[in-house]
Each structure stands twice: as C-alpha cells, then as structure tokens.
C-alpha cells in the first residue's frame, strides 16, 4: 500500500517536496539572491519534469479517490513542462521581484491542485483539487503588487472563480442526491437522464465553462489576462486552461457518457458561440495580452469542436492540441514577457518595426502566431486539423464549416501582428534591441522546436491516441 502510494502519487509528492524546500528557504536564515534562487527553482522544476517520465504505472488509491494511468501521467507531464517554460520566460520579471519564493510556492500549489483534479476519481476530490488550484492562482494574479490593475484582476478572478465553484458544488450535490454516490466509476450506470440529473449536468458544465473560459462564461477572461503579470497570464491561459480541459474531457467521456446525447448539443452550441465571439472580439483589441485573451477563448471553442466528436480521436486530439498550444502560446507569451519586462510596452502597435531591431524574437513570435492560427508547417495546423476531423466524425459538417470560417477571421488578427513586426515602421521609437537572457532563450528555442517538430513527427500524436482509448 505504502509502496503503491509512493509509486502512483509520485508526481504530486515531487511537487510537494519542492514546495517544502522553498518554504524552508524562506524561513531559513540564509539570504538568497534572486538569481541564485531562480537557478535553483528552475533546476528543481527541470528535475521534476524529467522525473515524471520514470515509472509509468496505473492504479487507484484511497478507495478510488485518486486514480492514475498513462494518459493522466502524460497530462501531468505536459503541465509540468508548461510550468517549467513559464518559469523560464519569466526570468526578467522575477529577477526584479521582491517575493520570488512566495510566487513559486503559490504557483506550485496551484499546479498541485490541478494534479489532484486530473487524478480525481471522485467528485469530492475533484472539487478539492479545483479549489486548491483556484485560490493561490488569485493570489499570484495580484502579484504586480504596485499596480491597481493587478488587484482589480485578482478581485474579478476570485469572484468569478468562486461563483463557478458554487455552480459546480450545486451540480455535484444534485448528482449525489439522485444517485447516492460521488465515485466516478459507479456513476455512469446510475445516470438515467432524469430532469434533475440533466440540470446537474448543465450546472457542472457551466462550472467547467468558467474555467475554460467558454462563451458566455468568458467575461472575466479579458480583464484578468490584461491585469495580471505577463507570466501569470501565460500560466492561466496554458496550464490552468489545459488542466481544466483535461478534466472536462475525461468527465464528459467517462462519467457523463450515458448523457452523451444531451451534452452533445450543449457542446455544439457552446463551441460555435465561443469561436465566433472570441474571434470577433479579438479583431478590435489593441492591448496584446487582451488580444491573446480573446484568441485563447476562440481556441477553447476549437477544442470543444474536437470534444464534440465523443470518440477516442476527440480525446486524443484535445490533449494533443493542448500540448501544441503549450508551445505556441508560451512562445508568444515568452516574447511578450521579455518585451514587457525590459521595454515596458504591451500594445500590439508597439511591435511596429520589431523585426528590424529584434529579428530572433520577431521570428519566434511570428512562428508562434502562425501556429496559433493553424498555418502549416507549424504544429498548430495539425492540432486544429485533428480537432476538426474528430469533430466531423459525427457528420456535423455545419460545425466544421463554421470552424473553418473562424480560422479565416483569426488569421486576420494574427497576421496584423506579423504585419506590424515585419512590414510597418514605427513612427516614434521602435522597441530597442533587447538582450535576451539564456533562460528565456532556452524556453523560446524549446517552443520553436516543439512547434516545428510536433506536427511533422506523428509519434507524439500516435502515443496520445494509443493511451487515450477509453
């Protein structure tokens, strides 16, 4: 039992260990410089990421409270990788910050919460993980301590997140009321599709929709993304959203499978709304972070298209897309983080003439944006293509057509940024040549490599597909 505990929950244990190490550093008497601290943390995160690949095993713990499998381990590895990249690209910002240890303790706590959420085999455990991931996140949204915007964003985030938790709890209580159990594996036979259960399902989905920022539950996204520090925004848009998508897919595909007919139409409607609203609002944004906020809403709509297919391909393509999205979005946010920390500029028009002064960063950003737009040979093309094929499996070609048309709209605003960087000249002063530190550079190179390689090499997708057969 003990051995199994250490084996199955090893990723959670590793994270907990890192958190404790950081806490000891904080209470210890030795004064650490930020640079040394960041070196240590990044090394630990790298070890943590590599450690995740050892000993792939599946099983359940604590009466199915906690379960793990190859897919779950993979999802946690993806999140680990994303967190490591976020930490690397945040170097310039964190170096000047006064509370680095607290930042990482909070950040890793949310990650731990997401791990428990992904591994949950029981609705109660799931809720616990969700809260553990939500509350520290609100604290780090507020981490630009001198900026009012940041506090405002944190306030919005905590209120909307509490509201969505409330909805989820309400839904969970109804599930318990009608079935008498909260265990995932016992639920499906008991779900008969009665009116109360359908209502519970709608509430559960609304709760998830908040976390993934699906229209019409997206209203918090833009403000929070704009107000938070860049790397927290990156973390929110990639890790937090990714974890929510992983859980959403597995809950829909396993627990709510008996109600597939009912949730299909909801997912269909939500995906159409999300794609259209996200893309149309993104067209008019001038703040780069806000633009990416709306674009990430639109991307969530694409993920829903794939999920609506309710097939192994649907699950695999959603997980694969998140992996691709990690690289693409963090590539984009990496450049934004560097520019924001060193030049203090966040508007998309500030990037005019960017290629002349910073060719490397401009290429990274362009490639990341192409990947987000779904342009080959970037991996985003494959990600979107597979999502749409998975979605078309049901024969719903209207959805596919709408999605394909949305890709044109999204191309417009991504290309606009590319145009600013490569074609336009800045009238006043373009962003000066920025020194890129080794850590962010490594992160950006990893992102580029991921964007180029993931699509052309089919093995990654095939592996995800092989482990996601239900």
């Amino acid at each position: 039992m003990i051995a199994q505990f250490f084996l199955l929950a090893r990723q959670e244990l590793a994270l907990t260990l890192i958190i404790f190490v950081l806490l000891f550093i904080k209470v210890g008497s030795k004064e650490w410089t930020n640079a040394a601290l960041l070196n240590l943390v990044n090394a630990l995160l790298l070890l943590n990421f590599l450690f995740g690949f050892l000993l792939n095993d599946e099983g359940v713990l604590f009466n199915e409270m906690f379960r793990t499998g190859k897919l779950v381990v993979l999802e946690k590895n993806i999140l680990n990788l994303a967190t490591l990249l976020v930490s690397l690209i945040g170097w310039d910002w964190l170096k000047q910050h006064k509370h680095v240890v607290e930042f990482y303790v909070l950040l890793l706590s949310t990650l731990l919460g997401m791990f428990f959420m992904i591994s949950a085999g029981n609705l109660l455990m799931f809720y616990l993980g969700l809260e553990l991931s939500g509350i520290p996140l609100a604290a780090i949204v507020n981490f630009d301590l001198e900026k009012r915007h940041s506090s405002e964003a944190a306030m919005k985030f905590i209120i909307s997140s509490a509201f969505s938790s409330g909805l989820l709890l309400f839904g969970i209580s109804m599930v318990y009321g009608t079935t008498g159990t909260l265990v995932f594996s016992e639920l499906p036979p008991l779900l008969t599709g009665s009116a109360l259960q359908l209502f519970a399902m709608v509430l559960l989905m609304a709760g998830f929709a908040f976390k993934i920022s699906v229209v019409p539950f997206h209203l918090w996204t833009a403000d929070v993304y704009e107000g938070s520090p860049v790397i927290v925004t990156a973390y929110l848009s990639v890790v937090s959203k990714g974890a929510a998508v992983f859980v959403f897919v597995s809950v829909l595909y396993t627990v709510l499978r008996p109600l597939a007919e009912a949730w299909y139409s909801i997912v269909f409607l939500l995906s159409v709304l999300t794609m259209c609203v996200g893309n149309l609002f993104a067209l008019r944004q001038t703040n780069f972070k806000r633009l990416l906020a709306f674009s990430s809403i639109a991307q969530a709509g694409f993920i829903l298209v794939g999920i609506s297919g309710s097939s192994p391909a649907g699950m695999a393509s959603a997980v694969y897309f998140i992996l691709v999205y990690v690289f693409s979005n963090l590539g984009a946010f990496g450049v934004i983080a560097i520019v924001s920390a060193l030049a203090g500029r966040e508007n998309s028009t500030d990037y005019k003439g960017f290629y002349k002064t910073n060719p490397f960063l401009a290429w990274v950003l362009a490639l990341a944006l192409f990947s987000l737009a779904g342009i080959p040979p970037a991996a985003g093309f494959f990600g979107k293509f597979f999502l749409l094929i998975a979605g078309a499996g049901k024969g719903n070609y209207i959805l596919i057509t709408i999605a394909a048309l949305n890709m044109i709209v999204s191309l417009y605003y991504y290309l606009k940024i590319v145009k600013y960087m490569f074609i336009d000249r800045h009238e006043q002063e373009p962003i000066a040549k920025l020194p890129v530190h080794l850590y962010p550079k490594i992160a950006l190179v990893v992102c580029i490599a991921g964007i180029i390689v993931l699509g052309l090499i089919s093995h990654v997708y095939e592996y995800i597909f092989s482990v996601s057969i239900l």
Partner: protein, 472 residues
C-alpha cells in the same frame, strides 16, 4: 547566389524527372502514377505520405522550376533583406512542388496552405503601392479558399471506406470508390470553389489584380505563374477526378462562370492604365480558359487546360518579368507615361512584345497552341449552350488583341515621352538569362507542342475514364 544555385538545381532535377518519366512511359509502364512512394504518416487517421507523378504533375513541376529560376534571376539585385526574400521565395516553391506531387489529399492541403503565408510576407515587405491591403486581401481570400477545400475534403474523407482502416485520404484509393452521388453533389462545390479561388474563378478573382500589382516582380511571376495553377490543378485532380458524377452535374455552371471570367477579364483589361493591372486582369481572362477546359470534360479540352496552365504560367511570368525590368528603370508602369522604349531598351522591349504576342495567341508561341486545344476540345461538345460558350470565349481573343496591341504600341513604339528615358540601360545578364529561359519554354511549346501533348494526354485520358465510369 545560394538561391540561384538552389533554383538551378531544382530545374535540373525537374528536367531529370521529365527524362526519367519519359523513359518509364516509353518502356511501357502505363500505371496511373509513376515514382510512387507511400509511407504511413498518421496511422490513426490513415494519413499517408504518398507521392507520385503523372504527366500533368510533371508538366506543372517543370513549369515551377522554370518560373522559380527566372524569378530568382530577375530579383538578383534585391538588397533589402535579401536573405529573407530568397528564403520565402524558395519556401513558396517547396509548397508548390509538394502540392503537385501529393497523392494524399491531406498532404495536398498541407502544401496548399504552406504556400499562403510566404506570399503575404513577400507582398507586404517587398511590394509597392497598396501593398498592405493587397497582401491581407490575398492571404484572407486564399485562406477562405483553403477553408472551403478543407470542409470538402473532410466531408469526402468521412464518406470513404477502406478495409482495415475507417477512412482514406488517398487520391488513388478514393478514385476507385463509388462515392454516393448525394455526397458528391454536396461537397463538389466546396472543393471546386475553394480551389477556384486560387485559380481566379469568377467572382472570386478579386485578389488577383490587387495581389499581382502590389507584389514585387518575382512574387508576381510566382503568383500568376504557379500559384494560380495550384487552383487549376486542384480543380482537376481533386474536384473533377475524385467526384466525377458531380463534375457532370456542375459542368454547365463551371462553364458559365469560366466564360464570364474570360469575357469580363478581357473587357476589364481594356480599361486598365497600369501595366501590372493589365497583365493581372488578362490573367483572370486566361485562367478562365483553364476552367473552361476543365468544365468541358473532354479529353482534348482537359489536355488543353493543362497546356494552357503551363503556357500561361510561362507567358505571364515573362510578362511580369518584362514589366518589372521596365519599372525598375523608368519607375512608372502607367501606359500614358511610357513610350518609345524600343530604341532605348531593345532587349527588354522585344521580350515585352513577345510576351504580349504570346498572350494574344500568335501561332508559333505557346498561347496559340494551348487555347486552340481548349477550343477544339470544347467544340466536341455538341450541346448548344456549350457551343455558345466556346464561341464567346473565341471572340474574347479579339478583345485580347486590342488591349495587348494597344499596351505594346503605347509602351515601346512612338516618340520617347520622357527625356530621362534616353539615359537608361538595357537588360543585364541575369535579366537576359531569365527572359531567355522563359522564352525557351514558350517557343518549345509553340513550335513543337507534341511533346507536351504526349506528356499530358495519357493523364487526361485517365481522368476521362474516371468521368466515363461515372456516367455508366
């Protein structure tokens, strides 16, 4: 220099491919596609890396090689970000080659989209005039085209069945299946209009004039010479070949749109004052012949359509090259500002005149051969409406002659309109070589069309068999 070497190697390889292809064919290998390679790419979606060529693809590859080499040559003096320029140009050519050799529609689509963004950057960075507007318009319209293609292809994919895998993207496999008529009727318009946007199908041609006129010379050559051929090739290989029943049903509409494009393009050209716009609108008209040939669905007309693609590709590239050379010296492309250049720049002016003559279909040059073949193929259709379309298309040649002769006369004949022109120099070696290469192709097709004909006809025959199978 590296780009030049690369492009030259491309041409050599293309010629080598042509020879190897002939050797195979003459030794009696009558398979539909030669030099096939097939590897599984994405197992779970049954996506393959499957390549192979037939006569049509070989001729397209040759065309691409010629135009790319000429394009690299004429932009020899690019000094603003030249590395990026040639990188994008060669990237574009990689997309085109990949497109022509794909036998898997996923791959085909991949390469189709691959070729969109380099065009955006080429026009946006090195273009002139309303370059940002044009670049954006082009990228979005072509993306819309590929979105339609995508929907059509996915729809087709889910209606295929193969043993041991659920569905197939493979062109040769899909061609052997009987796709239900209802499915074909639903998805044919998606695919055809999608590729049609690339191939300047009326009324989706509006990106053509803006895109071509704003693009730098090499990009214009590439756009008109190769990129528009992606559309024609896609209409033929994917839409018509894979959905033959629907092709029969929709043929009258295709012909109607193609005829409108031919006549509208010709008349619109008459109104233009800018040399690049003249050539761009005339491209709309000429590409109408390609679609007309495809729509007529006879062996001769399809052969003619392919020949027209090759011929138009070479001719329009030459035209744009000549315009680019003139523009880089006189700094104007307006008809009323130019004049008397024949005396000052005999070489460039002669090239310009030859391109014009090819465009209006002078016998001995490729334009005549290709258009003649299309007309002959079209006339094989006894139906009255088809005859009418053919006659109208023939009549457009008169209009073509009017605008071409007017443009040529205005530009190279007459008195010298600006005394500055007297100091201008004639073509340099790289420009001469580029023009020579393209002229070589044009004359080779014009004087001895049989080699191209022999190359294309067997492939066209296979498409016709497929169409015939549908009727039975």
């Amino acid at each position: 220099m590296v780009a030049f070497a690369g492009a030259a190697v491309q041409l050599l390889l293309a010629l080598f491919l042509l020879l190897a292809y002939w050797q195979q064919r003459s030794s009696g290998n009558m398979a539909a596609m030669l030099f096939q390679e097939d590897y599984t790419w994405y197992y779970s979606f049954n996506i393959h890396y499957h390549i192979g060529v037939d006569g049509i693809a070989v001729s397209m590859i040759l065309l691409t090689a010629f135009v790319v080499l000429a394009g690299v040559l004429v932009s020899w003096d690019t000094d603003n970000m030249s590395k990026e320029f040639f990188f994008l140009l060669l990237f574009l050519s990689a997309g085109a080659y990949g497109f022509f050799i794909s036998l898997d529609v996923f791959m085909l689509f991949f390469f189709l989209e691959l070729a969109v963004i380099p065009k955006f950057l080429l026009i946006g960075i090195w273009g002139s005039g309303k370059k940002e507007y044009s670049a954006m318009k082009l990228a979005l319209m072509l993306m819309a085209g590929s979105a339609l293609v995508f929907t059509g292809l996915v729809g087709l994919y889910f209606n295929t069945t193969v043993t041991n895998a659920a569905h197939s993207f493979d062109i040769l496999q899909i061609a052997k299946m009987d796709i239900p008529l209802k499915v074909q009727l639903l998805f044919f318009p998606f695919v055809f209009i999608g590729f049609g946007i690339f191939g300047a199908l009326f009324p989706f041609h509006t990106w053509v004039p803006d895109g071509h006129s704003a693009a730098p010379t090499a990009a214009s050559m590439f756009l008109a010479g190769i990129s528009m051929k992606l559309g024609g090739y896609g209409c033929l290989r994917v839409a018509t070949y894979l959905m033959p029943d629907a092709a029969h049903v929709y043929a009258p509409y295709i012909i109607a749109l193609a005829t409108i494009a031919i006549i509208y393009g010709a008349f619109a050209t008459m109104m233009q004052k800018d040399l690049k716009y003249i050539n761009a609108y005339s491209s709309v008209s000429h590409c109408g012949f390609v679609l007309l040939g495809i729509g007529m669905l006879t062996k001769t007309s399809i052969t003619g359509a392919v020949m027209q693609m090759v011929s138009h590709g070479l001719m329009t590239a030459l035209f744009f090259a000549a315009i680019g050379m003139l523009y880089s010296r006189t700094h104007t492309r307006m008809l009323d500002k130019l004049g008397g250049l024949l005396k000052i720049m005999p070489f460039i002016s002669s090239v310009f005149v030859l391109a014009g003559l090819c465009s209006l279909g002078l016998p001995g040059l490729s334009g005549f051969v290709a258009e003649m073949t299309v007309f002959m193929g079209a006339w094989q259709n006894p139906d009255g409406l088809y005859r009418l379309a053919t006659i109208l298309a023939c009549a457009s040649i008169v209009v073509t002659a009017v605008y071409i002769l007017r443009a040529v006369a205005q530009t190279v004949m007459g008195p010298v309109t600006d005394s500055h022109y007297n100091n201008l120099s004639d073509a340099k070696w790289n420009e001469r070589l580029a023009a020579f290469l393209l002229l070589l192709g044009i004359v080779a097709i014009g004087v001895a069309p049989f080699w191209l004909n022999r190359l294309v006809t067997p492939a066209a025959e296979i498409i016709i068999q497929q169409l015939g199978r549908a009727v039975n």
